[in-house]
């Protein structure tokens, strides 16, 4: 079973961040929300392994819940 990799794997972190920013350029809030949903779905298919995805979702969720408790 593959595990979620959370160590730094990005060769070009600025490019990755900029790609996310650019994707939302000129979109309404509703369109942006749809973009995020479709982006996650496309990446989920690329990952392919539902356990990796579940682990990523749990990691993100726990990060959000930490903010709540913070």
């Amino acid at each position: 079973m593959t595990e979620l990799r959370t160590e730094d794997r990005l060769h070009a972190p600025d490019e990755v961040y900029q790609a996310l920013v650019d994707a939302h350029d000129g979109l309404s809030d509703a369109e942006s929300r749809q973009l995020n949903a479709r982006l996650i779905l496309l990446l989920a298919n690329h990952v392919g392994d539902h356990q990796v995805l579940a682990e990523a979702a749990a990691t993100a969720r726990s990060s959000v819940l930490t903010d709540r408790d913070g």
Partner: protein, 542 residues
């Protein structure tokens, strides 16, 4: 009430217990004459088990209710000799279409493997289902149909179950060696024993309407997410016999149920869907909230629960009635084998071992479909709408679209009756799988379906090889079938059987009386057959 169907009145006869003033006795009592109870009673009686069926009513279902009979259900009815009227009267369908807004997203085929006797589904109103099964039951000896017999109380003892029954002519007690409660989601038997029905209720409501009209929609399942005619909610259209159409419309969770089911409120909704010029008549209206729940145990000593009395699911997916028929199919041969002394009482433990996981699978699928149709937050709705939008161009998203995962027979993996494979096999016919059909020829060269050759008891299929093995050598209750490209018992002329079961010369399959695979091997020996049979009869259950 439908106009094309006349509800029969089944005869009420004062039960003999009243005149005799004594407690009645029977081997098995089935409570409830719906599709599940009738299937079970028919199956038991055909296996020679003395059976009494008790139903509180004296006619068939009042509304169309369940309409989608799955391939497996039809195969069970056919095994019981009741298949023909479904073929004649039902609306055959194999395809579904999905729409998002105004556009079709994609179409899917539920029967990719053709060349089978029965289609993926036949649509037919529940009153016809009960009518056909009741007529078959009336023609079956050893089966007493007691209409207008209402069970009001139940007492379970170690050696049997006693039912208190009320009839228009008076009340009586009936003592049965075994009782099976098939009395639906509001089961009187379940309530009498105060057994909790645990699970999840969904706040969302669906309005179910049957209309009759002249229309040229094809025999397909059409499902809309956010259609323009229905304020962004879900809708489903299904064809039924007699020019009748089933229309399901999702309505707001906080709507007033009493107002929603009034015809003057339903009619404009349907008119918006069908267009301003459409002429139709409303035949039946029902409203329900979805529930996915089940009993913790399906067996309490000699009392069993089957169908909606044991488990309840949301209707999208046709898993309620079809799941219930699979319960009946699973239990009948086991009860018969134990009653006749062909199997130890432990065989009955396998009913729960097999049907609770099947119910959980139905509940899981049904809950997920409901969650997909009714997103619970804006963020979840974003994903749902994202899946539907991507589905236009991407196969992966199509496979995520969930408008109901339609009923397929449960694969009884992990059953204590299965013998694990010891050699590699390809394909879907693993131990626990329901036998798939294939076109074959019989001993005289006539066309047959493979499932017809299996009969109603254990069957051992041996492929491509004549062994000096006879029924008497291994077991008197076993049917032996030699198959191959040239027969002799089953002629696999087109090679479909070999392909679907991964058959090679020497391969053997053991099928149970309910036509599930219980064991298979590449080399049949009398010892293997005896071991597999013993296991399938529950002899390994502690």
């Amino acid at each position: 009430m439908p106009k094309a169907y006349v509800h029969p009145t089944f005869p009420f006869a004062p039960p003999p217990e009243l005149a005799a003033g004594a407690v009645g006795k029977t081997t098995v009592a089935v409570v409830g004459g719906g599709p599940v109870g009738l299937t079970l009673a028919l199956d038991l009686a055909q296996r020679g088990v003395e059976t009494v069926l008790l139903d509180e009513d004296d006619t068939t279902s009042h509304g169309s209710r369940l309409i989608c009979m799955s391939k497996r259900t039809l195969e069970v009815f056919d095994r019981l000799g009741a298949g023909a009227p479904f073929q004649k009267k039902g609306v055959v369908w194999n395809k579904g279409r999905l729409f998002f807004g105004e556009t079709e997203v994609y179409a899917f085929d539920l029967l990719p493997e053709r060349d089978q006797a029965w289609p993926a589904f036949v649509n037919i109103q529940q009153y016809y289902v009960e009518d056909f099964l009741a007529r078959a039951a009336q023609a079956t000896s050893g089966l007493a149909l007691r209409w207008k017999n209402r069970v009001v109380d139940v007492a379970v003892a170690g050696d049997g179950v006693t039912l208190q029954v009320e009839t228009p002519a008076g009340a009586y007690s009936l003592q049965a060696d075994y009782v099976v409660a098939c009395d639906g989601a509001a089961s009187t038997v379940r309530h009498a024993l105060d057994l909790p029905f645990v699970g999840r209720a969904f706040p969302d409501r669906f309005l179910i309407t049957d209309v009759t009209m002249q229309a040229d929609f094809p025999s397909e399942r059409w499902f809309w997410f956010e259609p323009p005619f229905h304020d962004g909610q879900s809708a489903l259209l299904h064809k039924q016999p007699d020019g009748m159409w089933r229309i399901d419309l999702q309505i707001d969770a906080d709507s007033d149920p009493d107002a929603e089911v009034r015809e003057e409120n339903v009619r404009p909704r349907i008119q918006r869907m069908l267009g301003p010029d459409a002429k139709f008549e409303i035949e039946w209206i029902s409203l329900y909230t979805f529930r996915c729940r089940r009993l913790e145990r399906f067996r309490h000593g000699r009392l069993f629960f089957a169908g909606d009395a044991a488990h309840q699911v949301s209707p999208f997916g046709a898993r309620g009635g079809n799941g219930g028929v699979q319960d009946a199919d699973n239990l009948a041969w086991k009860l018969a084998a134990v009653i006749k002394g062909d199997a130890p009482a432990a065989l009955l433990d396998s009913y729960e071992a097999e049907r609770i996981p099947a119910a959980d699978e139905n509940i899981l699928n049904s809950s997920r479909s409901t969650d997909f149709m009714t997103p619970k937050s804006p963020a979840i709705r974003d994903f749902r709408d994202g899946v539907l939008a991507l589905a236009r161009d991407h196969d992966f998203a199509r496979r995520m679209v969930n408008s109901g995962r339609l009923s397929v027979p449960a694969v009884l993996t992990g059953s204590p009756l299965n013998m694990a494979d010891t050699e590699p096999f390809a394909g879907a016919m693993v131990p626990g799988a329901a036998a798939v059909d294939a076109p074959v020829k019989g001993p005289e060269g006539h066309d047959m379906w493979f499932l017809e050759t299996l009969g109603a008891n254990f069957t051992l299929l041996i492929y491509g090889q004549q062994l000096s093995l006879t029924e008497a050598d291994v077991d008197p209750g076993l049917r032996l079938l030699f198959a191959g490209p040239g027969g002799p018992d089953v002629m696999d002329h087109a090679g479909r059987l070999a392909a679907r079961y991964d058959l090679r010369p020497g391969t053997g399959y053991l099928f149970r009386p309910d036509r599930h695979v219980s064991a298979r091997t590449r080399r049949v020996s009398p010892e293997w057959v005896q071991a597999a049979l013993a296991r399938a009869r529950g002899k390994a259950i502690q």
